[in-house]
């Protein structure tokens, strides 16, 4: 499964971002290969509608689960409609968030 984690910065020690739509980076982690890739969030500069644009971005990359500090109601319904799961994560680094996946979602 592919996981998208909202990240405050580029790098495994970055903190998971509180805002899904406007986070600076997404960490895409592939549980089958164990690899993680950091990509700039193209939606972060949008003056409006950053949330839906960020959903488009993660969905177009085949994401099955997203992690962020919080999700707005609009974003939640879009992700729900696409069958993408959400998990709220606060105060953790990206590396810690990834570790928690293998515990919470063993394959």
């Amino acid at each position: 499964m592919k996981i998208a984690i909202a990240s405050e910065n580029d790098g495994m020690n970055s903190t998971v971002d509180g805002r899904f739509g406007r986070c600076p980076y997404f960490a895409f982690h592939d549980t089958s290969t164990g690899k993680t890739e950091f990509v700039r969030n193209p939606a972060r500069e949008s003056s409006e509608g950053a949330g839906p644009a960020a959903v488009e971005f993660v969905a177009s990359r085949g994401t099955g689960l997203v992690m962020a500090g919080d999700f707005g109601t609009k974003i939640r319904s879009l992700l729900d409609g696409l069958g993408i799961s959400m998990e709220k994560v606060t105060g953790k680094t990206v590396a810690e968030a990834i570790k928690s996946i293998s515990i919470n979602h063993p394959e």
């Binding site: 409006e48 839906p52 644009a53 177009s60 696409l82």
Partner: protein
């Protein structure tokens, strides 16, 4: 000077006495027999009519066009998504998903123009109402009222502003804050009266409002409400910025009481009527 001038009454935030100043200034002008019109542009919470004996004349609905996409005709080419500047079309080619996000849509029509498959039609979305009231002979109050749940009151405010009668003095009760609704309202005015309180929060909000007005090159003056509270920072700031202090309203139990009863102090207290009349003259001198 032309017969009619437009004066906006604004404040950096709500609850500083903006409605109090708008309604009493209107009442004071009206009382002298000058023609006047009050437009309540505080469309999220209009309340000016509550202070007058009004008769509702007519009301009209303000709507916006929202695209509707027929997924059966859509070829998922993505052109509409590309043309939309507001991220209002949620589009995923592979998953064959397309959806208009109504609350993000500005009704610009670019997507309809972009679609080559005739998949986009339009519906009218109700945004709010503009209602005309009469508060006496030839005394009009226009009220902009946004329907709850809508994203922005700007369209409704713009429609209400179109009713401004340039032959008479027009007062605009501006929406709180300094964002688009505020800017749209004060842009239509010759002069803006900023109502503030002499507290640190009041001064901070005042600075924001002054900055916004400067950006669009608009003149303003200040009314300090609950004068006597806080320290002298607000007066020093006004002086440094060269903004005229138009009026000081000390804290007065009578004012608080008349407000809570839905009365106008300019009706119940002749002294205040004279004060607001003087405010009107001071504004004129500053134009």
């Amino acid at each position: 000077m032309r017969a009619g001038m437009t004066i906006a009454i604004a404040s950096g935030k709500g609850g500083t006495g903006k409605t109090f100043v708008s309604t009493n200034l209107f009442n004071a002008i009206v009382g002298e027999g000058d023609g006047a019109m009050l437009i309540d542009c505080d469309a999220e919470e209009p309340d000016d009519t509550l202070f007058f004996n009004v008769k509702r004349v007519c009301s009209r609905e303000v709507t916006q066009k929202i695209p509707v996409i027929d997924a059966g005709k859509c070829t998922f080419c993505g052109r509409c998504r590309e043309y939309c500047n507001y991220n209002a079309i949620f589009f995923l080619k592979e998953a064959r998903r397309i959806k208009v996000m109504d609350d993000l849509c500005h009704g610009c029509g670019a997507c309809s123009a972009a679609c080559r498959s005739g998949a986009i039609s339009e519906k009218e979305k109700p945004l709010g109402t503009v209602t005309d009231y009469l508060a006496g002979e030839n005394l009009k109050i226009v009220e902009a009222r946004m329907h709850p749940g809508n994203k922005s009151p700007v369209e409704v405010i713009r429609e209400a502003l179109k009713e401004a009668d340039t032959a008479v003095t027009v007062l605009l009760d501006a929406p709180p804050g300094t964002s688009c609704p505020f800017v749209n309202t004060v842009s239509a005015a010759d002069f803006t009266v900023l109502v503030t309180e002499p507290t640190p929060f009041g001064v901070a909000d005042l600075k924001q409002a002054v900055k916004a007005l400067k950006n669009i090159g608009k003149r303003c003056g200040a009314v300090v409400n609950k004068a006597g509270m806080g320290d002298g920072e607000v007066y020093a700031y006004l002086k440094a910025e060269g903004i005229p202090l138009l009026m000081s309203i000390p804290f007065d139990r009578n004012i608080a009481e008349s407000c809570s009863k839905g009365e106008l102090i300019t009706d119940t207290d002749g002294r205040w009527k004279a004060e607001f009349r003087k405010l009107f003259e001071t504004i004129r001198e500053n134009l």
